[in-house]
């Protein structure tokens, strides 16, 4: 969680200075979901992300250097500077990709889960998507087929209460997203997405069900993004103003998943403040080294423009 938070916050100034130009959808505030769920997966499991996937990539084992270099669109980035922030991939650790077409990767995860079922492997596939994706029909097509074939697929819906600028209440009548799974006979739960232990516990149950061949699971994680939909603030029409009520933002800042977990650790005598500082310092050093790595890396060569159109 700390690695993700510090990576995200390290991007704020370079974005504001215009050094990072690709659209960055920061994950600050939602770290407990990627970290808690990621802890239940192994390297052979598959993950598909969306537009807000820096955290998914790191939690699945993607490298900090490759992440930061990709966001700076360098040749050394995870997608060699062709994808930017919204296309993060590392097949070697099972991160099969991320894409910003809302709900576009849900069916890809469905297919990866189908592949593992055909091959009779015990891999689990996770599809991360947001509350906005529940407006797309392909989610329901995928729920139906996953249930029909009992696929080892975990639908991980991160409900941060806003689809870009639209509050969830203006997008759907029923606020309990997890209930969309019921008509398809898919098991579902709603979880406090800012409580990493609850995330871990529920995800472990869900991943276990998938791995045992008991069919797909739908998890709704209630959470909140501390930053804008894209970039540090909600940058609507270039006004750099957050469209969410300040009181609401402040209330959610109190539920910061990292602070909550740190409090839990110190109160229960599991880790002391000094160790927590050391963890933070180590992560900060890793992030700074990644920025240095990105800065020192070349941009893709213009003569390589059309490389990779085809294999």
């Amino acid at each position: 969680m700390v690695r993700i938070r510090l990576a995200e916050e390290s991007l704020v100034d370079p974005i504001l200075r215009g050094e990072i130009r690709c659209p960055c959808h920061l994950y600050s505030g939602q770290e407990a979901i990627a970290a808690g769920l990621g802890a239940c997966l192994n390297e052979r499991d598959y993950v598909f992300g969306n537009h807000r996937s820096h955290g998914h990539f790191l939690a699945k084992g993607g490298g900090m250097n490759e992440l930061i270099a990709e966001i700076f669109c360098r040749q050394t980035g995870s997608a060699r500077g062709r994808g930017g922030s919204m296309h993060l991939i590392d097949p070697e650790v099972g991160m099969l990709g991320a894409a910003p077409i809302v709900a576009g990767t849900i069916s890809l995860a469905l297919g990866a889960a189908l592949a593992t079922k055909i091959r009779r492997e015990r891999r689990v596939t996770v599809s991360f998507f947001g509350d906005g994706a529940t407006g797309e029909g392909v989610l329901y097509e995928s729920l139906n087929f996953a249930a029909l074939k009992k696929l080892p697929l975990l639908f991980a819906c991160e409900n941060n209460l806003y689809a870009t600028h639209m509050p969830i209440g203006e997008c759907r009548v029923a606020s309990a997203i997890h209930r969309v799974a019921a008509p398809f006979c898919v098991e579902s739960r709603v979880v406090d997405g800012n409580d990493v232990l609850k995330v871990y516990e529920t995800a472990r149950w869900a991943v276990g069900r998938c791995r045992k061949g008991q069919g797909p699971v739908f998890l709704e994680f209630r959470t909140y993004r501390f930053r804008g939909h894209v970039g540090p603030d909600d940058n609507i029409q270039g006004s750099h103003t957050d469209i969410r009520p300040q009181s609401e933002v402040r209330r959610w800042l109190q539920k910061d998943p990292i602070k909550r977990f740190e409090r839990y650790l110190t109160r229960n005598g599991i880790l002391d403040a000094r160790t927590l500082h050391a963890i933070r310092d180590e992560a900060q050093a890793e992030v700074e080294a990644a920025h240095a790595f990105a800065q020192a890396s070349p941009l893709p060569a213009p003569e390589e423009l059309t490389d990779y159109v085809y294999r």
């Binding site: 099969l96 069916s107 297919g111 139906n144």
Partner: protein
């Protein structure tokens, strides 16, 4: 390879699927109606019995998710063939085909290939009207990252299906129901027809006639008619729409100086327009007459047979266009 065995076009596809599924456990077939001859003719016969439901997957009516599942399975190391018995329904699947499959390799810096076949069947005619008979080759060929193949013979149908399955890129395999009963020599063994290579079906000196799929069949009939009139046609069957075999087209125009293109898609911004553009860019100095296009008009497909008769071009239309090209000076 032995070529003494005669097989129907649809059974040539069927044999390709049998042999690829037999030789490669990562190949599977997914799509609506793969269990039913009503949907896919006899192209899928015997597959379910031989390979089972795990690899011959008949699906709910969910083109978007089912095509996306094929793409996702390809990303996870499989070689799926996703069939759309009426390619009109592929519009529901444009997101996984275009946004995801076509872009995935490029936008991820070449980290992961997408070896998937999107197989779409054109069902022209039969009073099926505008949503059951569309030919979308130009639409797919416009998209970087996709390859598009359109066989016109049983030999090419088998060889191109095998090549498409083995290709590490997303390949759109388009065929026409009207070709399914066409018979021709098909070797029994596994072989590939190279993607990106046209075939000169007939050598000639008076005009170059370029066509693909069912229109190549009509073009061959036109070439016969014209030959009786003393007009000597060089007939190029494209076989692959993208990447277009520009070399073969240009070499032929350099020889004949005249070009007619017959395509089963709409006129504007279509395959014929692209071939004409290549000719004017790369063989302008050889052209002795204006280029002629024989295509569908810019009009949706009608139902009534009285309208269908004027909607679908035939060998007579092709022959007439060639005569105009040859007579022009």
């Amino acid at each position: 390879m032995s070529t003494d065995r005669i097989l129907a076009f649809s059974l040539a596809i069927n044999e390709a699927l049998h042999q690829m599924m037999e030789s490669d456990p990562s190949v599977f077939l997914i799509g609506q109606g793969v269990k039913s001859p009503w949907y896919v003719g006899n192209t899928a016969q015997g597959l379910l019995e031989r390979f089972g439901e795990a690899r011959v997957i008949d699906t709910p009516v969910s083109e978007n998710a089912m095509t996306g599942a094929a793409v996702g399975a390809a990303l996870a190391g499989m070689r799926p063939v996703a069939v759309h018995p009426r390619m009109d329904f592929m519009f529901y699947a444009f997101d996984p085909i275009i946004n995801e499959a076509a872009n995935w390799h490029y936008m991820n810096g070449g980290r992961l290939p997408v070896p998937v076949v999107f197989w779409g069947i054109i069902n022209r005619g039969g009073e099926q009207a505008a949503q059951h008979s569309q030919a979308l080759q130009a639409t797919f060929a416009h998209v970087p990252g996709l390859k598009v193949v359109m066989p016109s013979t049983p030999y090419d149908a088998k060889g191109l299906m095998i090549a498409a399955i083995r290709d590490p890129n997303p390949v759109v395999f388009i065929d026409e129901r009207w070709l399914y009963r066409l018979e021709g020599p098909v070797p029994r063994e596994i072989y590939e027809v190279e993607i990106g290579r046209a075939s000169v079906r007939r050598a000639g000196r008076d005009a170059t006639l370029v066509a693909a799929s069912y229109m190549a069949f009509e073009a061959a009939k036109a070439a016969e008619t014209l030959s009786r009139e003393g007009i000597d046609i060089e007939l190029i069957d494209l076989r692959t729409i993208k990447p277009l075999d520009e070399e073969t087209i240009v070499a032929s125009i350099r020889k004949t100086g005249r070009l007619v293109i017959a395509d089963g898609g709409w006129r504007s911004f279509g395959v014929a327009a692209e071939v004409a553009a290549v000719a004017s860019e790369k063989a302008f100095d050889s052209l002795q007459a204006p280029i002629r296009r024989v295509t569908l008009p810019d009009c949706p497909a009608p139902a009534s047979s009285s309208l269908e008769r004027v909607y679908y071009p035939t060998s007579a239309d092709i022959a007439s266009a060639v005569r105009q090209a040859v007579q022009a000076t």
